[in-house]
């Protein structure tokens, strides 16, 4: 059980390591995604076709959550799922193979980057806004009924907090005191729509009062702030004290999806300076938690893991088109 009031230096380094792994991963996917889409840009072309929503800038949210969960806890994510999946300890090879549409992928290539399901870590995600929340309630319900102290964390964007499923889920979770933690990633944008054009209040944490649950907003994309808030919320959930809502003010470092020219984006200029990873590295270096050598080693290890996963994915078999109709049902075939 973590001490939720003070981070030790090794815990800080662990958060940093997770963030670096995530960023390394997203940069590698970015590279692979754009590697074979030219001339021009054809979204359906290449080894990794389709929409691609990367999470660079949002690593603090993922790292701060992941630190408090074990593989027995459930995590549901959105169309932008890689960072939380990695922080939750999903198998990097299997996830990458899925993104490359391979038979060795988490979903045997059927799901893709927005549909990652991992029974081993109770991870799932959905491409439909806010619709990943209700299933998280059900996982929490199953955990509660089994008398365990396992929890479910449901991550969603600030844009999603205006979808009906958000409201219904928070009310039901509070009503039945389910062990769920709702985390809203406020990256200021829902595609091209700024938060002010989508949300009638300044902080979604204020919406917690509408359900009688605790609500906290973490500012400044602070990984330690997330760690603190999620730690408390997970603790409450494990203790049977019901759900919580946390909003984190985070950062969308890149476009909404790859190919997004962000012409609409008024805040672009300041973005690079707000990258949370160098900031945190500098803080750890300054505080003595990390040395330059550690940092280098962490980066190198991340590159190794990521490149291993990508190599694994690329060398994995492509599904056999003869099996295109498989897995619709567990039992029997459709006649």
């Amino acid at each position: 059980m973590v001490d939720r009031s003070t981070l030790t230096d090794p815990e800080r380094v662990a958060l940093y390591r997770t963030m670096v792994l995530i960023r390394t991963y997203e940069e590698a996917i970015l590279r692979e995604y754009h590697a074979d889409k030219s001339p021009g840009f054809d979204i359906g072309a290449g080894l990794v076709p389709g929409e691609m929503h990367l999470s660079a800038g949002q690593e603090p949210v993922a790292a701060g959550i992941g630190a408090h969960l074990s593989a027995d806890d459930a995590l549901t994510a959105t169309h932008r799922p890689h960072h939380v999946a990695i922080a939750h300890g999903i198998d990097l090879r299997a996830m990458t193979a899925e993104i490359f549409g391979r038979e060795t992928g988490l979903g045997r290539g059927r799901g893709g980057h927005m549909h990652l399901f991992d029974p081993a870590t109770h991870f799932s995600c959905s491409g439909i806004i806010a619709e990943g929340l209700p299933p998280a309630l059900g996982q929490a319900f199953a955990f509660q009924r089994a008398g365990s102290d396992r929890v479910a964390v449901a991550v969603t964007g600030e844009g999603a907090a205006n979808q009906g499923a958000f409201h219904e889920s928070l009310n039901l979770a509070a009503l039945w005191q389910l062990p769920v933690v709702f985390v809203v990633e406020d990256n200021d944008w829902g595609i091209s729509v700024p938060r002010a054009a989508s949300t009638s209040v300044a902080s979604n944490a204020d919406r917690a009062a509408a359900y009688g649950m605790p609500g906290v907003r973490v500012e400044d994309n602070s990984v330690e702030g997330v760690w603190q808030a999620v730690g408390e919320a997970v603790g409450r959930a494990r203790a049977g004290d019901g759900p919580s809502l946390i909003e984190v003010h985070t950062l969308r470092l890149w476009g909404h999806f790859e190919g997004d020219a962000q012409g609409y984006r008024s805040d672009l200029e300041g973005v690079p300076g707000r990258d949370p990873i160098p900031t945190y590295r500098d803080a750890l270096l300054a505080g003595g938690a990390l040395t330059e050598a550690d940092a280098t080693a962490i980066s190198a290890a991340a590159v190794d893991r990521v490149e291993d996963a990508i190599a694994y994915a690329k060398s994995s078999p492509i599904p056999d088109p003869a099996d295109a109709l498989a897995y619709v049902f567990a039992e029997g075939a459709r006649s």
Binding site: A74, G105, L106, G107, R108, G109, R110, G111, G112, H115, F117, P119, H122, S124, S126, I128, E131, L133, P134, P135, A136, L137, G138, Q139, A140, F141, A142, F143, R145, A152, G164, A165, E168, S169, N171, L172, L175, A326, Y327, V328, F329, A330, E331, G332, A333, R334, S335
Partner: protein, 351 residues
């Protein structure tokens, strides 16, 4: 209401020596209860499924036996509680979730068709969703355009969920047992008119013999409800009874009608349909759902794509693409009534 009428939830059961009879509603709740007794993971959830016992009595008595931890009244938040069922099923439980009227699918369809129905596929078979979503369908009692629809064609069109539609108590119990035990998501649609409710127009076949023990009616197998050689009626749910009534009536005139009760739409028992029309050469599809782009078209296409020469005659008796009107006289003008079915059979015989 001002003067409280104490209504029996279902029609009184007429005991018959050696054959226990139940209403369809009771058959449904018995199937659920039996599975709840044998499997701790089975639980029931929905609006008014507890103390009320389900608006159409599908869950009557369950709260008393199993208590509020396993029979849960929900807020009016269909997306949240159906999604909750999905998550619980993913973790190995076996929820039976009631959507009060199928007409309400529009507030929660994303959970149903994009999640419940697709997770198994998207996960490459690694995650199962053993969940039953049951819902009431159908009109005929002036409940208007938002409470009288059948919509089974809408569910059957979208991949990843099995769709069953019982017409009688025996099938209702057996299909519910099979649905709960299935590792796949099953949409279980019961027409209010076959439930044997004490407060709705009485349908004699909504009370029938039901074995005490648990048994399964296989999902995906149609039933020949009546054998005949002249014309095939392919139908489902309440319309089975209308079709049988018409068949009985016309038998006196020497017209021999075969009635196929589909029981399942997904999987659809195309073999059974083809076997019957191969014999009769005449096909009438009777369907209380909207006519176009639905069940009736699919049944017809299933036949002719296998053999375009088998049919001498084909017609449909369905709701003619109009919202269900409130006024009774209008509603009965668009429902597949016995009179419309009879006319269709006569026309088929004349062709």
């Amino acid at each position: 209401m001002s003067t409280t009428i104490d209504l029996p939830a279902t029609l009184p059961v007429e005991p018959e020596p050696g054959r226990r009879k139940l209403s369809t509603a009771k058959a449904v709740s018995e199937a659920i209860a039996q599975q709840m007794r044998t499997d701790d993971g089975v639980f029931v959830m929905g609006e008014d499924v507890g103390a009320y016992g389900g608006i159409f009595s599908a869950t009557t008595g369950l709260l008393d036996e199993f208590g509020p931890r396993r029979v849960l009244d929900t807020p009016i938040s269909e997306t949240a509680f159906i999604g909750l069922g999905i998550g619980a099923a993913v973790e190995g439980m076996r929820p039976v979730v009631e959507l009060m009227f199928v007409d309400f699918f529009g507030v929660c369809m994303d959970q149903i068709y994009n999640h419940m129905a697709k997770i198994h596929f998207e996960s490459g078979g690694n995650v199962k969703v053993p969940m039953v979503l049951m819902s009431a369908t159908g009109g005929g009692y002036s409940d208007g355009s938002q409470h009288s629809q059948n919509l089974w064609g809408t569910f059957a069109h979208l991949p990843g969920m099995k769709v069953v539609v019982p017409s009688n108590p025996y099938d209702a119990k057996g299909l519910m047992t099979a649905a709960i035990r299935s590792d796949d998501p099953v949409v279980y649609l019961f027409h209010k008119g076959v439930m044997g409710l004490g407060w709705m127009k009485k349908n004699p076949r909504s009370i029938g013999a039901v074995p005490e023990e648990a048994y399964e009616v296989p999902i995906g197998k149609a039933r020949v409800a009546r054998e005949g050689s002249d014309v095939t009626i392919v139908t489902l749910s309440l319309s089975v009874h209308h079709s049988l009534d018409v068949a009985d009536k016309l038998a006196a005139e020497g017209i021999d009608v075969e009635v196929i009760d589909l029981r399942s739409l997904v999987p659809l028992d195309r073999d059974a349909i083809l076997a019957s029309v191969s014999k009769t050469g005449r096909l009438i599809v009777v369907d209380e759902d909207y006519q176009s782009f639905g069940v009736s078209g699919e049944v017809i296409a299933s036949v002719v794509e296998r053999d375009p020469a088998v049919l001498k005659h084909v017609s449909r008796v369905a709701v003619p693409d109009v919202p269900i009107p409130y006024a009774s006289v209008l509603e009965y003008a668009v429902l597949p009534t016995p009179a419309r079915i009879e006319a269709a059979v006569r026309e088929a015989m004349a062709s």
